[in-house]
Structure formats: C-alpha cells, structure tokens
Amino acid sequence: MIAQLSAKITAECPECAGALALNGNTLKGEIVTCSDCGAELEITGINPLTLDLAPQEEEDWGE
C-alpha cells in the first residue's frame, strides 16, 4: 500500500514559502502544483511530511 496523508494539511512550498493546501488522501510520491508560484512539487515523505521540487525527467520507453 502507498503511504498517504491521514487528514487535510497546509504545508509550506519549498520554492516560494507560500501556503500549500494538501487534501487528506495525498499520496507519497504524488506531484502537487503550488498555487502561488506554480512550481511542481513531489511529496517525498508522509510521516513526517516532506516536499521537494519534482524532478523533470525525459520521456521513458522502459518495458
């Protein structure tokens, strides 16, 4: 099972320090967009909640 938040929470955007509202079923690894600066962020950890800029990676054809 993928770890996920247990309740709504407001976090701080690592890019612009803006307030980031996260709903209750946000998953570990999920990508969320900061409404203030528009940066794409990755939920890198749930307990405790940690965020980071989401990696931009190229197209992937792995099979």
Binding site: I2, L27, G29, E30, I31, E42, A54, P55, E57, E59, D60, W61, G62, E63
Partner: protein
Amino acid sequence: MITIKIGGSRGINMDYVCDDAAELHKAGQKIILVHGAGNEANELGEKVGYPAKHVTSPQGFSWRYTDRQTLEIYTMAAVGKINTFLVEALQKRGVNALGLSGVSGRVMEGTRKDAVRIIEGGKQRILRDDYTGRVEKVNAELLRALLDMNYLPVIAPLAISYQGDAMNVDGDRAAAIIAGAVGAEKLIILTNVVGLMKNFPDESSLITHIDKRQVEASIDFAEGRMKKKVLGASEALKLGVPQVVFADGRVEHPIQNALAAKGTVIE
C-alpha cells in the same frame, strides 16, 4: 550480420524462427537474436502471486513497473526460461547458441530511471524504485568476439545501469541499439502481425515500404506495442542501420521472408 528481434507476444512460432535461424547460420549468416519477455513474466507473476503492474507516463506510454520483486520475476522468466530454452532449441538444431542477459559482460548498459513520473487515478506520482531503464551503450566488442568464434548470441531484455543495477529494458529498443552498435546490415523485427498496416487489422492494408525519413510519421499506423517497435526502428536507422524490416513471426521461414522484403521494409 543481421540482428533479429523476436517479440514476447503470443502467436510467434518459435520452431519456425529457430529452424530458419539454424538454416541461415549454417549457411554462414552471422546472427544476433534479441527476445522479449512480456507474456512469460506476466504469467509467472500470476503464478507466484505477485502480478505484473503496468503504469503509464503522462505522455501515454505504458510499461511494467519493475520494483525489486518484479525484477526477480521478470529475470526468471526472461533469462531463466525464455533465453535458456531458446538456446536449447537452437543447440538441438546444431547451432552453437550462447545466451546472455545485458547484465553479463555489460552487454547492454544505460541509465536507470531512478525517478519515473506516472499518472494513476488522475494523480501524477513519482516512482523511485523502478528497475527500468534505457539502453545507451552496447559491448559490441564482446558480441563481435562471440560471432567470430561462430556462436549465435541470444540476448535477453535486461541491461545494467551505470551504478550496477540490473534493469528491465524495452526489447525492441535494445535490439535497435545492438544493431547500431555492431553495424548490422538489417534489423528484422518479428511480430505476430504481417507488418505495419494502414487500417489495422486489415492485412490487405499492409504497408510494404516506408522511406526512412517518414518513419516517425508512420507511428500513427502503429497500434499499442507496435508504437515501441516503430520507435525502435527509427532509433536503429538513426544509428546507421541501413534497413529495418517488420515481418510475420507466425509463418514458416519468417527470417528468410524478411530478407526477401516480405513485410514492411523501412530504408
């Protein structure tokens, strides 16, 4: 020297392929075989109670999410079962086949996607334990040495990352990179259809010839897995392989048919 990709999908007649490969090899034709593992890996995953999970990238490409346990299942199917018994079948026909996965001798090396973006249930997510990657380098020196000793290399679709992790790779693209690296005259992709068709599955709409400059555009005619085969073809052409042929792997003499341009020829 020709490189032949045998699809992992159902319908391809391995006996016909091995008969043809043996005949050509004995006539002096140097061959490298690359195979897939899709179905076998799925079946084994079901049997051991850890079914394969496919994920899709935001751009619409899907692949097998290969966490460590899936990698073990994939490797048992690809290297253990398909590769070994393909080598056995060729040995039985008097061909000294030699099976290798790309992990061995770093035959296929490349970048593992340590962070892969997928879309699931409307949410985008990053996967960090996906042992999937892209082939970027081929140990052509080893493959040539084996060919010179008259072996027929049979390559399983597994590569090694620069950090030394085994990883699941796309067999079609792997065949393309190998063909380019060893300077193959042709890359033959055997599938369970007659070739690329304008109106799939109407076989009378078979496209017999495509100019290599239009290969990217021809992806529109490709259904599902065929997309990857067309990408593989275009990769091989870019690497200098003069000709790529899509041919029917269900009929007798599938390789000789391809050599006689029966199917879709891209050059």
